[in-house]
């Protein structure tokens, strides 16, 4: 396992997303109220970029005409065919067991830690006073 620096935290403010390259794999980073989540940026259907999808909430139902709305902005819809994915898990809404995209867990590290531990930071310029998004793969 190697820790990679994938982005500066300031580049992905809350509610935003950023497409990065993680050891050759395209990954979409989402910031949900200060927590960072990553999805492989290829929809398992036909390869659309989830990073470019619209964010919606979780729409559930206990019966026809009864709508339950929660977790605003935590579901991304693929821009190509509208398939919904849970940003926290990478699982599709319509068939979560069969259809999912790989999810990545991120940590945040201070620049000084990045420098001291010599994390991989090929594409990100690291300064000791800033914070960085780290993935361990």
């Amino acid at each position: 396992m190697t820790k990679h620096v994938v982005a500066a935290a300031a580049d992905v403010p809350p509610g935003e997303r950023l497409r990065v390259d993680v050891a050759g794999t395209p990954v979409a980073i989402f910031n949900l109220n200060g927590e960072y989540f990553g999805l492989m940026d290829r929809c398992p259907h036909m390869g659309g970029s989830l990073c470019e999808g619209r964010l919606i909430g979780l729409v559930e139902s206990e019966g026809p005409g009864r709508y339950k709305y929660s977790r605003g902005g935590e579901i991304v819809r693929c821009p190509w065919h509208g398939w919904e994915f849970d940003i926290r898990t990478g699982k599709s809404r319509f068939d979560p067991q069969r259809w999912k995209t790989r999810a990545y867990a991120f940590d945040v590290a201070k620049g000084e830690e990045v420098v001291e531990q010599a994390y991989e930071a090929e594409t990100v310029d690291v300064t000791v006073e800033d914070e960085y998004i780290i993935v361990d793969i």
Binding site: I56, V59, E62, P64, R77, H81, G82, E84, R93, F94
Partner: protein, 355 residues
């Protein structure tokens, strides 16, 4: 062609009301007088015009008058002819076409009481569907409640083209009553003629009209599923009558494709439409929309991924096949057995009862 084994259950045959005079004894005094005073004519629909060849098979057609009005002929030609153990009568009379809710309700009651007295009381192999006035779902539910205690009524009958798509909540009192009494909803080809019978307007020819029925069934299934009828009524079964069946897997695939992208609109649809269909939808086997090829039928059956969805029917006296060629090519004996007996018994629990 595979033979129909003795003991099959015929899920769609059509005793016909000979004329309104035959129904008069089954109206209350008020409506009997009104129908005579107002000169109400026969409620014949153009969906099976009396003189159209398809309406009666040549060897089942009487010299004069309508086919399907004679119990003795129905016994010989349909029941003995296919050695059926039970047969479900779906009376096609223009009740659903009327514009007045009250008269439609009166006609539905008369047709049902006529069915019980003139057919069910006289022939123990017969069962029937309850004709309802969909013009007023409250009346329709009341008619279901009135007759559900008679266990020879095994289904509720509707037409595939009504005022609006059948999934709309307006119709839900009907489904609630049907579910409460363990009665499937039989949806038959045909129209109340509130709208053109094709999505693009009125056709010129009978062939167009007949071929377009499958589109009506497809749209109706989409409506029932997306509006959430099967989520609201989890025990409800729907039987498509004279629908054809080869279109079902491809249409479910199309609907499933849009559901995957637009699930958020209908969050009560929590699984693929084909999975819902396997649990809730059954289809009768005549008329057939498959080529007479064992290979083609086998491939189609693979697309269904279920051997429980098809039900045997003759569609007597309509002319859908000749002789005893009532089953498609290519059915294995096991599947033919399921279609002819097991599936009807599973679909209509009342058929297992002795009445």
């Amino acid at each position: 062609m595979p033979a129909v084994a003795p003991g099959a259950i015929d899920c769609d045959l059509h005793p016909a009301v000979p004329n309104v005079k035959a129904l008069l004894p089954y109206f209350d005094d008020h409506w009997r007088d009104m129908i005579v005073q107002r000169g109400v004519h026969e409620l014949d629909s153009i969906s099976y015009p009396n003189n159209a060849p398809m309406t009666a098979r040549p060897d089942w057609k009487p010299e004069t008058g309508k086919a399907g009005v004679d119990l003795d002929r129905l016994r010989v030609e349909a029941l003995d002819g296919f050695q059926t153990s039970l047969a479900i009568c779906n009376c096609l009379y223009g009740v659903q076409l009327l514009y007045t809710e009250d008269m439609a309700y009166a006609y539905a009651r008369a047709v049902n009481d006529w069915m019980a007295a003139e057919w069910l009381d006289k022939e123990p192999r017969l069962r029937a569907s309850i004709v309802i006035p969909p013009q007023n779902p409250v009346y329709a539910a009341a008619e279901i409640d009135r007759l559900a205690g008679d266990r020879r009524f095994v289904q509720v009958l509707m037409l595939v083209m009504d005022e609006m798509p059948l999934g709309r909540r307006r119709y839900w009192p009907i489904y609630k009553a049907a579910e409460r009494h363990g009665l499937p909803i039989g949806i038959h080809a045909g129209s109340a003629y509130r709208h053109p019978v094709t999505p693009v307007g009125w056709p010129s020819y009978h062939a167009e009209d007949s071929a377009a029925q499958a589109q009506a069934f497809q749209t109706t299934l989409s409506s029932l599923m997306t509006e959430g009828v099967f989520a609201e009524f989890p025990e409800l079964k729907v039987v498509l009558l004279e629908s054809g069946f080869a279109w079902l897997p491809s249409h479910m695939w199309r609907l499933g494709k849009f559901w995957r992208g637009l699930r958020m609109e209908i969050p009560w649809v929590d699984r693929h439409p084909m999975e819902i269909a396997k649990d809730h939808v059954r289809l009768t086997i005549n008329p057939r929309d498959v080529p007479p090829s064992a290979d083609a039928v086998e491939r189609l059956m693979n697309h269904f991924e279920s051997d429980e969805m098809l039900l045997f029917s003759t569609d007597y006296p309509h002319w859908q096949f000749d002789g005893d060629d009532a089953l498609p090519e290519g059915l294995s004996p096991a599947l033919a057995q399921k279609i002819c007996q097991d599936n009807p018994l599973a679909t209509y629990p009342r058929l297992k009862e002795t009445v």
